[in-house]
Amino acid sequence: MEKAKISASQLFILMILFQLSNSLLIPLAINAGRDSWLAIIIAMIVSIFLFSVYQALYQYYPALLPTDYMEKLIGKVFGRTLAFLYILFFLFSAARVLREFGVMLLSLAFPETPLFVMSALLILVVVYTVYKGIEVVARTGELLFVVMGLLGLFLLLLIAISGLIDISNLKPFLEEPSKVIKTAFTETLYVPFGEIIVFTMIFPYLNQARKLKKTAIFAIGTTGVILALTMALNISVLGLALTERALFPLLSTIQSIEVGEFLERVDVIFVLILVIGGFFKVSVYVYGAVIGTASLFNIKEPSRLAYPLGMVVLLLSMIVANNYPQHLQEGLKVFPLYAQLPFQVIIPVLLLIIAFFKNKKT
């Protein structure tokens, strides 16, 4: 662990930025059709229970990183192996986000630039940030959060005065409840809500431990509401068919803005949201991996790991899939089942049970 402290409001902002990130842009929970917003809300509520598991574990070891207390819970060999697997999971998740981000950028504005260049530029900034430590990440968050907020309000205003919103697109309500439930539990719960597992690496830095519960739940709730509203907005502006087909529904929504003949192409706002979001998600994941590695292998200067691990993420992002459809397929079928479900849900629950019995005895 590095010697640093972050405040509750900084954690709140980081969690929101981290979760919104790419989820704002993709057709989130679109398998639930018109009721995707409902699926998001359900997943959000369930994820609060999931968070309670993380929080309960944190309460047992408020000053320790998960990679440290795993060793205490299940022994040296298993604990360290598990911690190592978690680090790999963070790196892999970072690589997946980076890949997605790079592809989005290419398809948006830079069709002729190689993917590697785009990703490398972002990783450069990420490495620089992570090198500076969690306090700097948090403070950067505070400033960029204001930018994101202003942009969001501006967009909302533009969409509202363009008269694009058609509520009837959202009807009929609750056509297929089973689909909604299935989407919520098989997709949305893991991305973006379950991803807060990486924040267990950051919780120990909080300067007021008792504020954690309120802050995190509030952050999850806010994210859920914003995401649900965004999807509802997309569908009400574009209609279900168009939203389903769009690679980035938010982009299509923004592109349909037309105010007074001159405010037409405000795509750059989308690029801004995309870059800021991508930057934060990758940064937090890489930070989790860096600080975990440092504590696992007892490295004196964690900062030095930022550069090599950043390179690992960059290379992983290039080889993680042959092409984008394959990447999406992995993201929907393979990754949730074999990586996210165990790492985000099963292992924390098991660890909590072990922690409960261990601490009961003593």
Binding site: L121, T129, V136, I276
Partner: protein, 537 residues
């Protein structure tokens, strides 16, 4: 490791060599001997004036007055030393100590002290004091006679004000300290003197308000100043470079001002001022970035106007940072953002220009930088030549020759004016360099490059500290209570607290109800209200 050890050894050797000099440490009893030592040590310089007077009567005592010509106030020496001593020639000395009589009765100066060692004697002599040596006494009397030719108090050049005080600091440290004292009439305004610079022995003073400034920060400033071991200190810039937190970055983490009112305002917020003799700039620490966009006049004006101007300054800084980069990005990658009509015009203009936008931008920016630097160091008489050449070269020649497009000229000019309009030269100059990095990143990756650049800049800025205070306070880390005086400027009556990041204690600045209490409400007033009532129910 071994290299470090080696360095340490070297250091120790150097120090011990310093000590080995076989100079006499303390003053001798023989006057002739003493005068010889002074002559020898100053290399017989003609501006060290030694005057020998016989003092007293029965027995006479040989006394020498020694001073440095030009550093002292001549009338003072003539009137209060020489004359006074000659008038007292008749004093009977036998049985009494002539030195005591001299110091108590004869020398009619404001401040008199004694010295026994050569170091402090020379220190005083060369800073403008007068030294009096007496035969048979191994002690020197030092009278304060500082004076000589100096620049008078003038209006500061770099920080012009419309409304505020027109006084500016001068090169004399005593004058500068007094200028601040005149504003803050408070015994808690403490000054700590120091002598820095191995050769120059420059006077340096720390000034702060005891009880408002944070003790730890004051101690930190002391500590950093004490370890200064430079050969010479010719300007406050020397000190600045060896005590700042980030010495290799582009952003200033110490603010300097030429205005006593700005210094006083900062002291009252809990900051610490450092004065250096010979420099008309006071250093002020800790500095936060937002200060570089503020001027003391912001507090003298009505608050909505100050708020607007402050935000305008931040906007101008942003323009001077990314103005040309935006143009490069839009014309290279994002043409669809330009309204079609304008796009056609720009396209027809750039059609005749053989270079890509980035090369155009670089040519123009470099040309402008050259013109600006040339104009800065130019004697006034030929500066008009530069402006004519500049206007013709940039304005017309370049376009007609087909080297750059007219749109680019506009962008570069706006950027140039924006960077000149930033109130602090220190922060504006950082933008001048970073601008080129932004232009390159825009040429490589368009908006994406600019956004990444801005994120990187943000990360760099939030990682900076100035004497322990985060550089972007109070915005990040966010402190809701201190937001009132940042890019906003709340009404004066609402600025009740000092910045939290500067001092944890004594934060209450003023009384609570400083808002003007007007006798009548400005809303509708009932007819039966008596004068003086506040129309409250």
């Amino acid at each position: 490791m071994s290299y470090r050890k080696f360095l340490k050894k070297m250091n120790r050797k150097e120090q011990s060599q310093d000590l080995e000099k076989d100079d006499p440490k303390s003053i001798d009893t023989s006057l002739t001997e003493n005068l010889n030592i002074i002559k020898e040590k100053t290399g017989n310089s003609p501006d060290i004036i030694i005057r020998i007077i016989s003092f007293g009567h029965d027995p006479k005592v040989r006394t020498a007055i020694i001073y440095a010509d030009g550093l002292v106030d001549n009338p003072t020496i003539n009137e209060y030393l020489v004359e006074s001593m000659e008038n007292n020639v008749q004093e009977k000395l036998h049985g009494k100590d002539p030195f005591t009589i001299l110091s108590e009765k004869v020398v009619a100066l404001g401040s008199v002290k004694t010295a026994k060692d050569w170091d402090s004697l020379f220190q005083s002599l060369l800073s403008g004091d007068t030294v009096i040596l007496m035969d048979g006494k191994n002690e020197a009397l030092i009278g304060s006679t500082k004076g000589g030719e100096r620049r008078s108090i003038e209006q500061p050049d770099s920080e012009v004000s419309i409304r505020g005080s027109k006084e500016g600091f001068t090169e004399s440290i005593a004058t500068n300290i007094s200028l601040v004292r005149r504003i803050i009439n408070n015994p808690n305004l403490w000054v700590e003197p120091m002598n820095l610079g191995k050769q120059t022995k420059t006077d340096v003073s720390i000034m702060y308000i005891n009880g408002i400034a944070d003790n730890d920060t004051v101690e930190e400033v002391r500590h950093r100043l004490r370890r200064v071991n430079l050969d010479s200190i010719l300007d406050s810039g020397y000190i600045e470079q060896v005590i700042e937190d980030e010495s290799i970055g582009l952003f200033p983490t110490i603010i300097h001002t030429e205005r006593p009112d700005a210094a006083a305002g900062n002291l009252l917020e809990g900051r610490i001022a450092i004065f250096v003799n010979g420099s008309p700039n006071a250093l002020i620490v800790p500095a936060v970035m937002i200060q570089f966009f503020q001027t003391p006049e912001d507090y003298y004006m009505r608050f909505p106007i100050s708020t607007f101007i402050r935000q305008l300054r931040v906007l101008m800084y942003l323009i001077s940072l990314i103005g040309p980069a935006l143009y490069v990005a839009i014309t290279t990658y994002h043409q669809e953002m330009i309204p079609t009509g304008l796009l056609i015009i720009i396209a027809s203009q750039t059609d005749s220009v053989p270079f890509p936008a980035i090369v155009e931008a670089l040519i123009m920016e470099v040309t402008f930088e050259i013109l600006r630097e040339a104009g800065l160091r130019m004697p006034n008489k030929i500066s008009s030549t530069i402006s004519i050449v500049g206007a013709l070269v940039i304005g017309q020649g370049a376009i007609q020759a087909g080297i750059v497009s007219p749109a680019m000229v506009i962008v570069v000019s706006v950027t140039a004016i924006a960077s000149l309009a930033t109130p602090s030269y220190d922060i504006a100059i950082s933008a001048r360099l970073i601008r080129f990095a932004f232009m390159l990143s825009a040429a490589i990756a368009g908006f994406y490059g600019i956004i990444l650049g801005l994120i990187m800049l943000t990360v760099h800025l939030v990682s900076l500290r100035s004497f322990g205070v985060p550089y972007i306070s109070p915005l990040a880390p966010f402190e809701p209570g201190n937001i009132k005086d940042t890019i906003l400027r709340a009404p004066l009556w609402a600025l009740n607290e000092r910045p939290k990041f500067l001092s944890a204690k004594n934060r209450v600045r003023q009384g609570k109800n400083q808002r003007p209490q007007v006798p009548m409400s400005q809303g509708m007033v009932r007819a039966d209200t008596k004068e003086g009532d506040k129309n409250e129910f």
